[in-house]
Amino acid sequence: MGAARMMRMPSYGSRLISGLAFGVMAVFFVVPLIFMIVVSFYQPDPMGFYKVDFVWENYAKFFSSFYYTVSLRSLYSSALGAVLVVAFAFPLVLFVSDLSRSHQQFWIISLLSLMCLSEVIIGFAWLILMSQSAGIPGFLEWIGLWDNPRSLSPSFGAMMIGLVFLGFSIVALILYPSVSRRDRSIEEAAVTLGTPPRLVFFKILLPTFRASLVPVTLTMFVYMLGVFVMPTMLGRPKDWTMTVIISDKALGDANLPLGAALAVVMLIVTVLVLIASAVLTRRRTP
């Protein structure tokens, strides 16, 4: 009997934990989500936040060309940023993984400290670096490479650099363990079978790491959709992402229903993009 009771204990425990986890999910994720969806159907009220109602007007606004364009641009800049981050971080991680132990440690610590910096600090650093007087343009003028320097930010390129910088250490640190532990004889086998060393990256490393690179890119894509500081600091208003517009509407204009509707649309689009890429990548694996 005692044994039987002992056997049951874990099942109570795991039920308790899954119940707790579900509760936490509900409180922190589902409830705000439902609240957001409900609010997105309310009437905006210029005096207060909203009036309880059921209207499609907020969603209709999304399909006006402005929001439409902004959301497309957000998807574009996040996707481009995600691809660029991975395209820079993966080769760097490969390079680092072939260094000696102590050099690898140096890089890991550098990447970790980079990750500790907040978005705001990274944004400011780049703002200064790209400014006309103190930054790269000034330096280029000083060494005589640029006659008439101007500030490089705000611009789409500056925003991209900020985004890439922000995601870089995260991606590098996610990829590092599997890259450094990879079986290098696979690359050597490819060379003995006639692969020129410069093609090993494309013929072997990219395909063997595709299973890690695709999810990391998708994660970065979602992460960058939510980045707020970089676009406002380094981008022009027309580079602003949906995140910026949403908070601008919800907080700046106190139009919570419109902000909520835009957020719901972005959520749906994001989920659709993720499902589509999951389906596409699954179909290609043998």
Binding site: D183, S185, I186, E188, A189, A190, V191, T192, L193, G194, T195, P196, P197, K203, I204, P207, T208, R210, P286
Partner: protein, 321 residues
């Protein structure tokens, strides 16, 4: 045509000399086993032949061509890695076809070659299987087929069977021997298992500490080990020290015991019967000698008996070190 001549090959990593002056001549179609303990430089020799490592000094000639002047990807040397190193993103057929695709063989030729090779290693019909879904022995065969696909002049295998269980290893040994004989391909096979080397090799190269101790046929190595290291490695456990002279080696089955007569005196410490074989341990001076005979073929003794140990002169030989 595919004879391989290695002369005065040296390789060091930093201050560590991994290979010190290696020279061997291998004839076309010969099956060479590199045998030696961990870290003695076996893998390093293979990697130098394949071109995965650059040598410090010496020469590797294939026929009359200097291999060391050719980069790895142009050497056409088939190599089976210890980890197998199959391409995880490709299925069995595509693994085998990899080199041929890269070299731009026509598709029809690739298809027929892949099925010929899979047939050769006993994997016909598994072309579309993912390599992760294969057993250890099957993965081994894919690695062998892939390494042979470009009809290399030299075939290198680095402890390919060390991860297999004993029964499968025996089977794979027979198959690799058959494949090698059928293709007549010059082969280097690395192992630290002397039984495996004995079973496979035309010639065994025993290595120790970056040097070749002896290169000889299994038969010769067994009956006439050139150095003490070889004798011990091959499992000849009787090395008898003599005052002021070189020690001599005698095989356990060559020792003869008598109650009296010529020889050196000793005492039987243990004896046990293994099937038809009787094995004894005899204490002679400070040393333990191992003796074996067919049970019933000699005089029988009790444990603790004093005996005279002798051996025919032609069954003993002096060891230089």
């Amino acid at each position: 045509m595919a004879a391989l001549t290695i002369s005065n090959l040296r390789k060091s990593f930093g201050t560590f000399d991994a290979l010190k002056d290696i020279s061997i001549s291998v004839t076309d179609g010969e099956f060479i086993c590199l045998l030696g303990g961990s870290g003695c430089g076996k893998t390093t020799i293979l990697r130098l032949i394949a071109g995965l490592e650059t040598h410090d000094d010496g020469q590797i000639l294939l026929g009359s061509d200097d291999l060391t002047a050719i980069p790895c990807h142009k050497r056409n040397i088939g190599m089976v890695f210890q980890s197998l190193a199959l391409f995880p993103h490709l299925n069995v057929g595509d693994n085998v076809a990899y080199g041929m695709r890269l070299a731009g063989f026509p598709a029809a030729k690739i298809t027929s070659e892949v099925s010929r090779l899979l047939n050769l290693v006993g994997l016909s019909g598994l072309m579309d299987r993912s390599v992760a879904a294969l057993s250890g022995g099957q993965q081994q065969r894919v690695a062998i087929a892939r390494a042979l696909a470009l009809q290399p002049q030299v075939f290198l295998m680095d402890e390919p069977f060390s991860a297999l269980d004993a029964a499968l290893r025996d089977q794979m040994q027979e198959e690799i021997k058959r494949i090698q004989r059928d293709l007549g391909i010059t082969t280097f096979f690395v192992t630290h298992d002397q039984r495996e080397a004995m079973a496979l090799a035309d010639r065994i190269v025993v290595m120790n500490d970056g040097k070749i101790e002896q290169a000889a046929s299994p038969e010769e190595l067994y009956t006439r080990p050139a150095t003490r290291f070889v004798a011990e490695f091959i499992g000849i456990n009787n090395i008898i020290a003599r005052d002021g002279q070189m020690p001599i080696a005698v095989r356990p089955e060559a020792l003869v015991l008598g109650a009296s007569g010529d020889g050196i005196s000793g005492k039987i410490m243990r004896q046990r019967r293994l099937g038809a074989l009787l094995e004894r341990e005899i204490k002679v001076g400070g040393q333990t000698l191992f003796q074996s005979e067919i049970a019933g073929s000699g005089v029988s003794f009790d444990i603790g008996a004093e005996v005279m140990v002798s051996w025919p002169d032609e069954k003993a030989w002096a060891l230089p070190a």
